[in-house]
Symmetry: C3
Subunit: 208 residues, 3 copies
């Protein structure tokens, strides 16, 4: 079953696993970075490197996809999965880049809490994606998808609470502007993880 | 003609009709709520419920789509239609959620005007979507699509006028920030209605 | 080779060429307009006209696509190419519309620099798109795509530098709000050009 997913000339399974690992790497490093409370050039550079490496894998998948006639599942699902996994890493990098450009060198503690949820979600994403190679995992994969959806709801509430708090306590409009964007971006990472879960579920349902 | 659209095991037509009704419900309730001029917890909760119910129908469509081999029209059109109808309700809910989080308990009169146009547009969307089951309706459906496009242009002008007015009259930068986002979101609802119209037109043209 | 791309009843090649020319027109006119340093009603109107004309071509492509059974390349690639080329023009128009609505009649010199990069990128886009009719151009088209990607990276750095500078020098929060959005939009134009390049590359790879 699903043997077509296994190596022939192109091993999509392995590439997706790599991509998912970069998502977890980006999230873990993001959590580490915001926990330190300051952003230095070396930390920024490391995040930039992860983003570049993730990009390379995504492009490898797109290239293989365009050149491969028979694919393990629907072409559009492969494309969507690779695109959305790449978006996870990109969005985390975007937040770090904003911290740098906006000179937010002293990081709100709030963001640590958010970074933990993001890390949890990327770990669930990685489990779900890595399970795709074997339909025996279907039940577990669905459970990871439910967990990703749950974390997205948690993120919605966190963002709303942080925005309400920000508008209440921060009186400098320019700081409000900067942190508002950061919190909304952080929630967007969880939205994108949910998009990945949707693609994964759609792949599973088609094969049921 | 189009009999495949009618019940067999899955009735997409009925599900789309439900979705379109939730879009109208969300828009009507949004208008009612902004007309009252204040937002209380019960009103927020009711909008949240509509959004959840709409979500359930969207997921039912996605599930059926993944499990159904023969579909009444192109799979990607069914997917796009369900996704965009869901986005309409989500976006209306997003505005109400922002009003709550930003503590905008006293609502600008401007928004009532916008809510009326949004309601009109969702009604045209519902007519267009419900007509899809029978090709005899093609001419009327096209007219609804033209109307949806017209209302999107009306919305563009309304948003521009409201933003110009906001920047002219509101001197508190944080209030500007909040209302700017609300007006842009309101216009986005009309953009999404136009996206629905595009999918509907693409379905019609393929069947002509 | 690729003769199916040439006229039969529908000439997609010609329509894409038109669309690409409107993208270049919009970008050139945008550069001219920001170089003048002020925005008058006539300039705004001219940009609005270009946007409308681009829209008409996009709709012609969508209509033909829906009515055509055999297409020169994958239907989804044709749709994506037309959609993204349309988005380029729309986004440039959006910036000009914001300048008007926000009454930014005196334009930051920074934006001229950005407008030059945008113009360069649309020219590369036009070359890449026009080359698609003949596979002998494949190598050159790939070079244009590399150039479009390079310009997107240039744009990222420009936007970051301009935002950092804005937050450092502009003390009026409402001005910060307006110009921040303009700079982010300007970079978005280059992102969309990169999306066009991705579609073009995907078409090429499939035909290799």
């Amino acid at each position: 079953m699903f043997s077509i997913f296994l190596p022939r000339d192109v091993n999509f399974s392995e590439l997706f696993e790599k991509q998912a690992n970069y998502a977890v790497d980006a999230a873990s490093y993001f959590k580490e970075l915001v926990s330190k409370g300051t952003l230095d050039e070396a930390s920024y550079q490391k995040m930039h490197d992860i983003e570049h490496q993730g990009d390379d894998v995504a492009h490898a998948i797109f290239d293989h996809l365009n050149k491969t006639f028979i694919t393990p599942f629907d072409r559009e699902d492969i494309h969507a999965l690779a695109k959305r996994l790449d978006d996870v890493v990109d969005m985390i990098y975007t937040i770090v880049n904003r911290l740098k450009v906006y000179k937010l060198t002293s990081i709100h503690k709030n963001l640590i809490e958010f970074a933990s949820v993001i890390e949890e979600s990327t770990r669930a994403v990685a489990h779900a994606v890595k399970g795709l190679g074997n339909m025996k995992n279907a039940k577990k994969i669905f459970e990871y998808c439910v967990e990703i959806n749950r974390l997205e709801n948690v993120g919605d509430s966190m963002r709303d609470a942080m925005l309400a708090d920000l508008f209440e306590t921060e009186k400098d409009p320019i700081s409000v502007m900067k942190w508002k964007e950061i919190y909304q971006d952080a929630e967007t990472v969880l939205d994108i993880c949910e998009d990945v879960a949707h693609v994964v579920q759609s792949i599973l349902v088609k094969q049921a």
